[in-house]
Symmetry: C2
Subunit: 182 residues, 2 copies
């Protein structure tokens, strides 16, 4: 699975501009995929050259013009062949967890800061995802619901483990900062 496959999939649902696609990544895909404009625009150009999508120039008043891309029959075939390919394993890259491995090499105050920071981020992301689910839930397909449930379950578990971990580390060693109240 590359950016190409995902972009083609988005256009298989409905025609969109590069800007719209970026929006999709920020909303629907944020917790398990992302791509920047530096990927999106060159990919759209490439897909068009290959005949998998077509471009239409849409003039707007009061706003810049848009290039709306639509998938072709060839594009649909290509996307189906992605769906039939083997599933790639999940890849997680976590700076936070790498640092936990090296915890003994770092100042305990700093480690405490990392953990509190991670907890705060996780709590914020949990709220945000739960909010998305409430807003979009009724419009989601069953598998899209499953997807966001996985995301929410993951973060909820992470928040729990971090809270327990902070409490436990505090008893081992009085180095944890008090959690900040905002």
């Amino acid at each position: 699975m590359t950016g190409q496959d995902v972009i083609l999939g988005i256009l298989a649902v409905e025609p969109k501009s590069g800007y719209d696609i970026k929006k999709k990544f920020e909303n629907l895909f944020s917790y398990f995929f992302d791509a920047s404009y530096g990927t999106i625009y060159p990919t759209l150009g490439k897909l068009e050259k290959e005949g998998l999508i077509t471009k239409e120039n849409v003039v707007q008043q009061g706003k810049p013009n848009k290039h709306i891309y639509s998938i072709t029959e060839q594009g649909r075939v290509k996307f189906q062949s992605y769906l039939e390919s083997d599933i790639q394993e999940n890849v997680l890259r976590s700076d936070f967890m790498v640092r936990l491995i090296f915890g003994e090499l770092a100042d305990p105050q700093m480690v405490a800061g990392w953990i509190n920071n991670a907890l705060q981020r996780s709590q914020a992301e949990l709220l945000s995802l739960e909010n998305d689910y409430e807003r979009m839930g009724p419009n989601m397909s069953p598998t899209q619901e499953l997807c966001i449930q996985i995301g929410i379950g993951n973060i909820r578990s992470q928040v729990q483990v971090l809270q327990d971990g902070i409490a436990r580390l505090r008893t081992i060693n009085n180095n944890m900062e008090a959690p900040s109240h905002e």
Copy 2:
């Protein structure tokens, strides 16, 4: 955080060969970081050239020679500066979750296959991680324990959500394959 930072960190704990470092990635880091030999060896060469590590040739009998790398004082300073840098956000790339988003564009039988497959993988990884924790737990630092607890919590949650999801989808639509018993 790049491969460089992590490799330097591993050598900050104790001297190792490229081969040993790969082993570490497969054992300790598997669920949140990985690097191939194609990253490890060129990185070791670069770090040596920069004076952050030193190489020692170790002759072995019955086995190929090893290049054991040790961190220098300069290397330790560099690694500390990584630890003091801002934490990068977690990045997850999940082909499975991408496909769940496009579930409506795929054959329901195929979707059922994806989910059962993901469940089986998750269950296998859960067993493997729990096993690691049992084996290595007593030798782990408190923050390393926290790290593996996060990993286990994540997968456990994923298994739960997938199991519930399979049951729910089965009531919606009689397309789910019976789980295989191995």
